[in-house]
Symmetry: C2
């Protein structure tokens, strides 16, 4: 791993200086290589899937592992989309003249070497390679052991793309060992790795955060809330609360807890819960919610802290906006929370006081996403406050330096 680190550091200097056309050329060539290598990719993938089955991996995990035509097309398309995004590197902003006569501003620069540690989905290999390259960084990718053959086959396409653009192949290195110690080394190589982005379950991220000696951009869980205010437009409220929960169940920006103002609970909960029940969503409510919708079971303290990622919803009736904000700031995972209200002052208070990476007014939590926000692809959604927060796209993988343009000024 030390050698991988050294190579990445050396490559990072070249990638940081690569111009936009060169990087885009590599991304296009990677996309083409993936499409041209469909057979080889699926052959490698078949080995992983067979091993997963004989190791008794569950069906959901096997499903995430499979590289079918659609997934391969998606990887290629993703790389082409990254090529079409504006290059963040070298972007100059905030230039202003100071009284001394110097002109000061900022220039966006790559972070250097990014380590990405992820679980079964092999398509992350292509996405992460593309995002790191376009943002001018070298990448060290460490996928799950169950996807080792698929990841190596994708790596070959990535490397072909780098070669085609005359960039160093070490700009993206896919670690080809399933040895767990490699992760331990990767997250402590301060000299060679500038930041770690773990993508995976809560336990993976907790383990990495606790052992890392290198900064970690964390994507934790999504316990997202929708609060229906007493001054909500109830038609909007029902549509948003329905979409936030039922559009997709297994995603981090799905609503897990619905908060309803007591003054409108009796009016809004019956029609809304009928929608949920018709769609097979299990409802767990507090006493006040239960009194209105008897099909609910009793929610426990544990429910408020749970990311179901499933057709289950906890429902709580709250007295006012303060109680809603208190609940959210206590139980939310600081991912995404939304208020439905027509009241200006309450909307502004919610925006200001809810301490989450995305805070919304009259919109579904499902919008918390790099594409929906216009960032293009994302490497994850950060629930940290340090460095990057919310969807992390190209900008989140860069830093800024100050630049000073003078004409001979000295400090008096």
């Amino acid at each position: 791993m030390q050698q991988v680190g050294q190579q990445a550091r050396a490559a990072s200097r070249l990638v940081a200086q690569a111009d936009t056309a060169t990087k885009n050329c590599a991304l296009e060539a990677m996309a083409q290589a993936l499409l041209d290598s469909r057979a080889a990719l699926q052959e490698a993938n078949a080995k992983d899937v067979a091993a997963a089955r004989s190791n008794g991996l569950d069906e959901a995990s096997i499903d995430r592992l499979i590289l079918n035509d659609k997934v391969i097309d998606g990887m290629a398309e993703g790389l082409r989309q990254i090529a079409s995004l504006a290059d963040p590197v070298g972007e100059i902003s905030d230039m202003s003249y100071r009284p001394s006569g110097i002109q000061v501003g900022k220039m966006r620069v790559p972070l250097g070497v990014i380590g990405i540690i992820y679980e079964s989905r092999p398509n992350v290999t292509a996405d992460a390679a593309g995002l790191c390259l376009k943002s001018g960084n070298a990448a060290i990718l460490r996928g799950g052991s169950e996807a080792i053959h698929s990841n190596q086959a994708i790596a070959a396409c990535v490397q072909a793309g780098l070669r085609a653009a005359r960039l160093p192949e070490t700009a993206v290195q896919v670690v080809n060992t399933t040895d767990r110690a490699a992760v331990g080394e990767l997250i402590t190589m301060k000299d060679y790795v500038d930041v770690i982005v773990p993508r995976g379950g809560k336990s993976l991220i907790a383990r990495i955060s606790s052992d890392a000696k290198v900064p970690v951009i964390k994507h934790l869980d999504g316990i997202c809330h929708v609060y229906i205010d007493d001054q909500a437009d109830l038609a909007k409220a029902i549509t948003i609360a329905d979409n936030a929960k039922t559009h997709r169940y297994g995603v981090c920006n799905a609503m897990e807890t619905l908060l309803v103002n007591a003054a409108v609970a009796a009016e809004v909960l019956p029609p809304l819960c009928k929608i949920y029940l018709d769609k097979g969503v299990e409802l767990r409510g507090d006493a006040a919610a239960l009194a209105i919708v008897p099909q609910m079971t009793v929610a426990t303290e544990e429910d408020w802290r749970t990311e179901y990622l499933a057709p289950i919803l906890s429902v709580r009736v709250v007295g006012d906006l303060d109680a809603a904000i208190d609940h959210i700031n206590t139980y939310s995972s600081q991912h995404t929370d939304s208020i439905v209200t027509e009241n200006y002052t309450k909307a502004m208070r919610f925006l200001r006081e809810v301490d989450s990476s995305s805070v919304m007014v009259n919109a579904s939590t499902r919008f918390a996403d790099g594409f929906e926000y216009g960032l293009g692809a994302e490497i994850g959604i950060s629930t940290d406050k340090i460095h990057a927060r919310g969807p992390v796209g190209l900008e989140g993988l860069t830093s800024q330096k100050y630049i000073v343009l003078g004409s001979g000024q000295i400090r008096k």
Copy 2:
């Protein structure tokens, strides 16, 4: 320390919501309290100074410890300047409409709880309290044991200011123990501390970085360079190189190594080195520099890696811009580096390719400073790439969250 942490976390919620007028009122009241408590501050300080003398502390350290009238006036003035800065909290930027109809942008938010660990200068207590408060954060301050009485006396003034503005006194807590274990706890209390800013010598920062479980904004050493290009205006070059080295010796943005293009070395080094020698600057050069200025001693490999903070300068003659950039990216501490040139292309290459927190063209490295950049006061100069880079003012002590304004939109 756990209790200090809990109190800080609770206070941080209130400070984050405090309006600008309230925070400014507290800052003004703190400044007034410092001026009104001059006698008490100096009495407390006298205890520290006496103890320092009897413990045999060196004169430079004792000098930094002393709270004379000028230092007290400076602390009060600093707090008033922070009051006059724009409030970063709640600032909304980059709002744009997306095809879905939602409007997405960012809102600047406090980080939460900031732990600051610093060495002897007690005036840091007032500066740090002011910056953290204005940026909407709660602060836990841990000063040097040699300044314990001074820091507690300053803390009393800070607390009086918070009380006057009806803000919780726990918004700024000055740790009143000299127990070293307190630092160990502070930098590992992930639940209560969002970021640590160490201010002090290299060994303090190295120790904290290696033990911290909380993100650290590092201010490391300043091995700053000036490169005089063969297409430099030599009059500008001499003025800048003189100022960068001799304006102040003990500061992190002073030049420590001068790089000179071989084509102009024989012309520029003699008059420039005469200035240095007249000012008593010791010169250490490579063979080529020595051949031109025989008063130099021979620079060793160690010299290129040394932050002298003293009237010593290492000088190296380089063949071209590439060699200059290579030297800087190898030996610079990524603090501040400057090129003197009239050539557009070389200026742009230097700006782009030098990987330091401040990169300058035709200006003295001494400008790398929060006030000179228009940020107002700073808590330090970050040589990290993660989160904040360069002078860290109010903005560096904040994060951003995404805000979404909708009118009932759902994800299709």
